[in-house]
């Protein structure tokens, strides 16, 4: 696998891995969380689970595309502004390349039965991938049982109330401050 141990400089390694992650990010982009966790927390230890989860919560609640937000913040975290830019370009590049081809073959692509069948399979695989991301982050997000209540609350709010993600994150912050106190 691509690795710094093979002598690749960090920016190049970052670009190539983010390119790979971008290539395999389907279904609204949540699988990027699972992929970053595997590549950079488990395999390489570039970033801690806490930091990744914080990036995800902030990236989710800022304007712009979530996947790009998360990539930029991840890159910035591991190597400042240059890596932030490299990470964003890396994760976006596969979409641009694939869509350029698709746009040219727009009509044929739309009607291709085999592509449609393969995509049913890909979409079916995306849900467990997203669940694995949530499961992987649990150990770091939850120190006390009461926090499962917050998980459940967030789940129900997002599922049933049409409210903005910023508000959800702010509600989480409010819950944290109420439980732990404003000054600790």
């Amino acid at each position: 696998m691509l690795d710094a141990r093979r002598g690749l400089p960090r920016p190049l390694c970052c670009f190539l891995l983010l390119f790979k992650i971008g290539l395999f990010t389907f279904g609204g982009g949540w699988s990027i969380v699972a992929q970053l966790q595997r590549e950079f927390v488990d395999k390489r230890g570039w970033i801690s689970k806490e930091d990744l989860l914080d990036i995800v919560s902030v990236g989710r609640s800022f304007p712009g595309i979530m996947v790009i937000n998360i990539a930029v913040m991840f890159g910035y975290h591991v190597g400042g502004v240059p890596l932030g830019v490299i990470a964003a370009v890396g994760v976006a590049a596969p979409s641009v390349a694939v869509l350029s081809v698709v746009t040219v073959f727009y009509e044929q692509f739309r009607r291709n039965i085999y592509i449609a069948r393969a995509m049913v399979g890909v979409r079916a695989a995306v849900v467990p991938i997203i669940l694995s991301a949530a499961a992987g982050l649990r150990s770091i997000a939850i120190q006390e049982k009461v926090q499962y209540g917050i998980v459940l609350g967030g789940f129900l709010i997002c599922l049933f109330l049409p409210i903005n993600n910023i508000l959800v994150v702010l509600l989480g912050a409010a819950a944290g401050l109420m439980l732990r106190g404003v000054r600790g």
Binding site: I68, L99, M119, I166, G172, L177
Partner: protein, 175 residues
Amino acid sequence: MICLQLYWSYLKIGFCSFGGLSMIPFINQEMLAHHWMTMEQLSDIVAIAEMTPGSLGINCATFVGIQVAGLPGAIATTLGVMTPSLTVCMLACHFMVKFRQNRFLQNALYGVRPICIGMILAVAVPLGQANYFLNGAPLWPAVVIGAAAGALLLAKRSIPTVILAGALLGLVLVR
């Protein structure tokens, strides 16, 4: 000139939206106003964006950019839609790192982290409904593929492997 217009348009879309399908209304407004896309093309691009890697925002930006002004157009639109991430989000990250050890922030994160897991779980529900059911009836091949993907993940297979396995099983099982 047209590239500047495309950049500006997608810059607005980027700043107004919070990713995913919430971008549709903004994209719709801008595209129809400039006659860059028809309603039909817009619903097609949503389907195509779902079927190709990457987010709807980037995919849509590339599609429109190429149709309107070729590759330079695609670069302009993609940069436009990425600008909020490269500016606002980068700044936010800078401050987050700086105030890391702050007690107030720590206590807030005590609530933010679990709620973020709740958000991730909540995304899985509509996705599950859309991907495993068709008009209310279970789509058995998809259910089987989902279970197989879950098993592969538990066996610590890489995510690209799981996605490719899903695609292959889809070709074989789906009719």
